[in-house]
Amino acid sequence: MATKPTFTSVDQADLDFLGREPIPAKYYHDADWYERERQAIFLRSWIEIGHVCELPQPGSFIRRELEFAGVSLLIVRGRDGEIRAFHNVCTHRGTQLTDQAEGRTSTFSCPYHRWTFGLDGALLSAPDFERFFTTKADCALPRVALDTCAGLIFVNLGADPVPLRDWLGELADELETLPVARATRFSEYVYDIAANWKLTYDNFQENYHLRFIHPRTGEATFSSENPFGYPVRYQFFGPHRTQTIWTNPEPRIAPLQRVAMGKAMIAAARRGLAGGPNGREYFALFPNFFILGTVAPHFSHVVYPLGPQRSRGVIRIYWEGDDADASERFAREYVMAMARDVHAEDRAVIEAGQRGLASGALKHIHFQTQEALCRHLIGAVRDAVAAHEAAAGTAG
């Protein structure tokens, strides 16, 4: 006889190291604090910006605007197969080299005076260069640190960053087990939100809101034994964190959802993607990246700050291989549309929270046991700001 799996809640005692105190509200709206986060975190942390499948061959490039830094980057696969990041800035007088979002090229040629750069950033040619007082070797495109893990591309604007793998620690090997490491295709949707990046991000690392904000799309998550759909485990890895999502033994599923998910699971099994060791893990990499280990949807979600109270979310659902047949295409379309339906429901309530906090009415906000990941994020943010300011001698 099959026994029904029971839900066991995480124990607050295991989370007490995070503290229990209320959290100052200013961290979520204050412009000065945002500037300190920008300096301490976003200008010197590994930030996820794409996937190697966007750069299939030598000469493939993508442009990425990092609004939080005010920079435009070119991510380029060189002739040697290596992926590099450069500022999209001509070394003559600063003109941006291209406004193309992506493409394939053998050189980047500045529209202004035709300085021309190779895929490795070297200045190859410049008209009338004899009249300058510099060397071509000194005029290569400014390089930005770039590294990959599990096919995901990270850049770091800092001067001499710790290697990405050291930064990710033991999570690097776990990420490599995910389907994203083999992805060749993705579905993507993007939203702008009038809310602080942490308030936005926190929404996606607590399940407390699910039954109120996702009463229909969240139905598969709820049951009498776990009415909030809480996770079964939280783990902490330096500034990063994970949760193990609960498996509802009796999910309520709409008719075509069942068809689509069935086809998605068949496709995943055929591709050898099902049943991986991290299939129920939800990874939160500091500062602003998530990836969910399930095969359908297997999504990443990055929340990029645009200002103290504005952010942009980019959600990608990763797939291995082209659609093998109509059934797989149907399943991928449904899975994308379903995930988008869920994500669409969160935005308005996050913005309402931002308006409330920005009013200055509250000195503090509160986190419960099952908001431990939110509590851990603000702790990691405060630690990073303190460490940076101590090192720079600018503690304020």
Binding site: S187, Y189, L256, A337
Partner: protein, 112 residues
Amino acid sequence: MTMILPEDFADLEPFVADWTPATSAERAARRSAASATALAAFHDAMAPRLDAALVWLDARPLADLDPAGRNLLGLCLMLAHVALAVETQGQDEPRHALQREVMRITRTPADP
């Protein structure tokens, strides 16, 4: 003479004109623009035919479907969106459509 749909699916022809946009973003917009009555009519006609349509399509390479096959595939993909409106959102669909509008679909494997 070119067929609008494969012969076995000729009964679905009245839906082809309105329910076969070219991209995922256009399908999402089509769902949001439709009335509850139109969504229900398409869902009720198409949902019972989905299995047969996918069996017919799966027997052929996706890349070289003829125009009739492509129309049938388009109806299937449209149903993915409409099913969410009819089976999941129900009464909430008009309000939900407003929330979805800002979630811009930028690419999917189904896009040309």
